[in-house]
Symmetry: C2
Subunit: 417 residues, 2 copies
Amino acid sequence: MVSDLDRVFSKNAQGMKKSVIRELLKLTRRPEVISFAGGLPDLSAFPVEEVADVTLDVLRRDGATALQYSPTEGDPRLKEELIAHHEREDGITLSPENVLITVASQQGLDLVAKIFIDRGDPVVVGLPTYVGGLGAFRAYGARMYGVPLDEQGMKMDSLERKLDKLKKEGKKPKFIYVVPDFQNPAGITMSEERRKKLIELARCHDVFVLEDSPYKELRYEGEAVKSIFSLDGDGQVIGLHTFSKILFPGMRLGWVIGPEAVIQKLTIAKQSTDLCTPAFTQAIVAEFAARGLLQKNIDSVKEIYREKRQVMLDALDEHMPKLKGLRWTKPQGGLFLWVTLPRYMDSEELFFEAVEHNVAFVIGTAFYCDDGGRSTMRLNFSFPTKEDIVEGVKRLAKVIEEHDKEKKTSGDVVVTP
Amino acid sequence: MVSDLDRVFSKNAQGMKKSVIRELLKLTRRPEVISFAGGLPDLSAFPVEEVADVTLDVLRRDGATALQYSPTEGDPRLKEELIAHHEREDGITLSPENVLITVASQQGLDLVAKIFIDRGDPVVVGLPTYVGGLGAFRAYGARMYGVPLDEQGMKMDSLERKLDKLKKEGKKPKFIYVVPDFQNPAGITMSEERRKKLIELARCHDVFVLEDSPYKELRYEGEAVKSIFSLDGDGQVIGLHTFSKILFPGMRLGWVIGPEAVIQKLTIAKQSTDLCTPAFTQAIVAEFAARGLLQKNIDSVKEIYREKRQVMLDALDEHMPKLKGLRWTKPQGGLFLWVTLPRYMDSEELFFEAVEHNVAFVIGTAFYCDDGGRSTMRLNFSFPTKEDIVEGVKRLAKVIEEHDKEKKTSGDVVVTP
């Protein structure tokens, strides 16, 4: 075995540590734990029968092709379906040269990082933001600069100041990373006004916007906001998409849309990363979409999640203690909501108490590129059953209530009238 | 659109160019061209019916799980099957912590490069070697050092000199990359003696051996040579494997074996690269293997390719002009053989003449990290039909014969008696 292995690893790999979150999540695997921690879709929502039908037909019709190598760019038929989907959903006109099929959107994040980031390069992200984005950018040594969110999404005045400050220091971010619809983790949707301002700032500072959009189709109320990609229309935006939440994650299919020159570079990078996305899964999902089953699935998933979200919101209203500073977001779609605790509470401390009482969440710090988020947590409502949501919220409420009492009794907290 | 895009790309991405080979291959797509250029398996060998059966059963039994997220490390059941496979094939004892499932072995190459290579790091490769390996290492800025092959594989005296020279210059390679069985492109198998010497040199210089083994199971004659991994048994070797050639490439499944500390780091790197390999395809291939269908498939594929290889060797013997310096390898397995032309011939020049005469190959320079290989070419015998192999070899022989005459008439070549 090679000696001094830790020094043999690349500098970027030396920085890759086992995720603390993943280690914490291992504590939640006992069957008696109700977990709001994962980001998993509802298993019962998967269209298993339809997948079986479609797969059989694909194998009967094009079996050999579906089991052979395929173009790095992606299955042309699947691309056609996606182009039609964007046209319908968002009024965007794309050509096949604007689309690259990926192994879900995590590969989109990886490839974008691979083609843009040199060690030390600045990237702007939300406070909080998607942990998988942070991981992908860190793996190439990016230096992250955080901009806070409010209930309208990333704060544009803060972003403007951040970009100006970076400019003065001679630093130009490679891109601004946002999850504008029902953000993971906070459940917040960026307003159209902010989106337009974001495009304006990106143009002015000559940087890309990376728009990560896994949940956009899953809106349960209110009116859809146009994608940043469609509001721009001028090649300033790279869009990441995935079938993981609107269909299922088990085939690992996603896609990137963007200016042709960027898609071309991503395609070359993909060649040496995995040659091509599986022909088999692409053929199945293309046929699935062609039969109108994708839209049907989105409609039925929305019904399920809309109800679950309401169950969680109602349970929170009913069971959470009335504490000053305790609040949560009311997402109009997506899979997550975000709880802000009173400032004297640390969600990591709370986590261990919660797991002892058989309920789990993700601690907020996971989603911060700085030290922020200590008094926040993410709750998922797509995976647990409705019964478990109610019972889990009850348990969580009790844990918070007791934690609060302890804090106040111990004198850690000075309660002002 | 962001200005001066070429400078916005990362340094590694700036070096990623459209592959000349891929561009050349586009010329070979006319249906009248018989192509020995690809590396594709025989479509008619794919077990389509069995895949349909297995997939239906998997969906009926575990449908929802097969469509859900899965562990980054890989499906435990598939790992079990692979551990048994290695035990049977090679007498290696592995634990699940020594195995990581990947999106085929190109992802294995990418992840190994990601965790080891900083820009400028030395890597030792064969002259020639697999072009996808070169691509993966280049994508992280590796500096490649080539060591020539002869009919016994990589030349160990040359390797020893190269390692000594690098050591004197204060350079330590991250690994030595070899494809020891029926090498792509040259069809050469490394002798056991060389493998042992390679391990000795790697230990002495404290570097890893990266053993890429996509074809090992496809031996058509002669006795199997033990894998470098099994001859070592001491954590000096990282092994890359894939289902692409022994089953089919369309599900993009492969696996890496290695010391636990390396597999752990690769797993962390995979998390931010694509989260996990598709649960769906893993479940299908695990069930396929559990039913004994993998071994059955290997046996039937071997029959097909053994015959095709013989057809190509016979056709070359019969039709190739008798020229001094014209020779080819006689691989005992795999998918490729390697033609060395007389030194006054340039295979790139020949390529265009060949395509005009409706036959194609890959020019040898693609497989060299230096300027070598100008008078070599790779021929694939797994994809074309037997009839096309004979007809294609006839065409190629004629092109070479005419090219030779032209060269000699033009006075470019001084023919010594």
